[in-house]
Assembly symmetry: C2
Homo-oligomer: 367 residues x 2
């Protein structure tokens, strides 16, 4: 079993990764010393696949566990869904010495985590991510929340899990497109922190996607989690270093929003965002041509839908400007000096506009 | 100016107390280094009295401040009211380097604090409590939240303010009944932690109620805040010591609930709750007769509405039982060994039932 520690003083926790670990979840959770009831929160699809195994494991370990399901998809990440859960969980008798377990992808993790953060002033919670994207990114770091009609993730807190349990075998049932979406965050993790892992990714990416070797995939998951754990451990609340985790996300988010959510998977938009950030880094003379080409050729291995013709540069830039308003000191972007070496630079309107134009004219990433 | 420090490592903050301090709030808040916009949240009544002074002080200090009002009363402590605030605050352009200021009593502080805790994963906030109850209790310690249809304060977090500003002159307009309600928490604070302050309270209580000397009242507020700051500093999240702050509240809350909210002010129900806890402490041989009589004679100085005939022992006990369900290890109560010396004891059904009976039969506190 790979164990990655997230070092956050009294909020420290471990991430445990092993093929077949879902069946061991009862024992791992019982070892936390939970005395109250356990509420497993999941969506319809994921609960149909894995809830029986998980609930069974919890009950075998002597815990009183019950399942609470929410509808599939991003619309469940809402305050009204959280309110329904509050009612169900209070009626269930969940207490502060109980536990919430999030079984699913990012939507379930964010919603269940937010519910855990805000019910009874905080209930411990365990993440059991079942998608690649949530395993390599959203289940680690304590960002939880729901969407608001004015924007995604506007309502939320930092609430660290007490344990993260990853079973790469849950990826068996994950559609290929979702696997590639998760892989985009793996590329990002390598680019901002780990040149050795990037080399490995260059060699093994397609093998991971077809789940050829669960052991090697587990090691790759652990590498990503180690990167995130190290960054989060140094800057839990994103006052500095943690911002490097947003590498590629400025344009990624803008593309998701400007194309209308649903056109791109998160990771697909991120690949375009990474390409844009690399282009800008090269334009600024931060990144050499050879490294640019090397990363670019990895990005080209991703199967991607094209950017819709309806997306124009102005809408992307508008999204930036709104982001900018949210920081009083202007638009600071994460760029790249080399693989594993991010830098944060203030960027003028003119420069990022030009680069957005190149992206939309298919001059950056040519698929 | 009295300054009380709440020692919570990187979440430490100070409480500043001085007559007329509201007019200085702009300077104090500007000194925090806030770069973004400032949202002042208040209710209709309090904003009519003090918002002009506060907003003026903030603007004079160079801050971009705006007022957001909610309806008066406990019904504003709801998730739907928080949702309205989210929308208004996002539209206002509030960012993580901005600030929320809670101007009002406990309802405004709890609601504004919860909104601050959950918008954009946490915005700094300042408490400006304007009632005695919020000055001596709810504005310090970081408990924020809203009510749920199944119970009060069931939704919430711990989110510490970055500063608390108390101006005892705001109590001028506070109805006498509200002042006595706040005084009940002052008695509780003295009983659990500070025999010297209790002596002072015995001498000065009525003077504080008529605001005879703002300087002496400020010292009394500071004494209460010091007690709470010390307890919270040792146990921020109520895993142990902080539970002593609930002294008298078990029956206090049950009385409020069983009589239908609105019959008792919080502090009035608390006086009955304190009387009950003292009776139980004496029954258990923890508290001597002389000390009991001494405290009892202070409680008798409170003007209190009688307990309605409709409240019966079974409803009070039922409320306990629900509390009990919320802890897997049974009903542990805070009792008193002496003034300033609380103890936590498990109490059997039989004992607290008998004591509840004496309370309802007017055998404990005879008004």
């Amino acid at each position: 079993m790979s164990i990655v520690r997230v070092p956050l003083e009294d909020r420290s926790y471990s991430i445990r990764i092993e093929p077949g670990l879902l069946g061991e979840a009862g024992r791992l959770i019982a070892d936390l010393g939970i005395r109250g009831r356990v509420a497993v929160i999941s969506d319809r699809t994921v609960s149909g696949l894995f809830a029986k195994t998980l609930i069974g494991a919890l009950q075998t370990a002597g815990l009183e566990a019950s399942l609470f399901t929410v509808p599939d998809g991003e619309t469940s990440k809402s305050l009204s869904q959280a309110e329904k859960l509050y009612t169900e969980l209070i009626r269930f008798g969940l207490s502060r010495d109980g536990l919430i377990v999030a079984l699913g992808g990012g939507v379930v993790g964010d919603l269940a985590g937010f519910t855990a953060a805000t019910l009874l002033r905080g209930i411990p919670f365990v993440q059991v991510p079942t998608t690649l994207l949530s395993q390599v990114d959203s289940s680690v770091g304590g960002k939880v929340g729901v969407n608001h009609s004015l924007g995604k993730n506007l309502i939320g807190c930092f609430h660290q899990p007490v344990l993260v349990i990853m079973d790469p075998l849950t990826l068996d049932t994950l559609p290929m497109r979702e696997r590639w979406s998760g892989a985009a965050e793996m590329v990002k993790a390598a680019l901002i922190r780990d040149a050795v892992f990037f080399e490995r990714l260059e060699r093994e990416l397609e093998d991971w996607m077809v789940l050829e070797d669960a052991g090697r995939l587990s090691e790759a998951l652990a590498a990503c989690c180690r990167i995130k754990a190290e960054v989060v451990g140094r800057d839990e609340r994103e006052s500095g270093l943690r911002r490097i985790l947003n590498f590629g996300h400025t344009v990624g988010h803008a593309l998701e929003s400007a194309s209308g959510y649903g056109v791109f998977r998160h990771g697909e938009a991120l690949v375009y965002g990474l390409a844009w950030a690399l282009d800008l880094s090269r334009t600024f003379g931060l990144l050499g041509e050879a490294v640019f080409q090397r990363v670019d050729s990895v990005l080209r291995r991703f199967p991607l839908p094209p950017i819709p013709e309806s997306v124009d540069a102005e809408r992307i830039v508008e999204h930036f400007t709104r982001d900018k308003k949210n920081k009083s000191d202007g638009l600071h972007l994460v760029l790249l000096n080399d693989i594993g070496r991010p830098v944060i630079r203030p960027v003028r309107d003119f420069d990022f506009r030009e680069s957005v134009g190149r992206l939309l004219n298919r001059q950056i990433i040519n698929l």
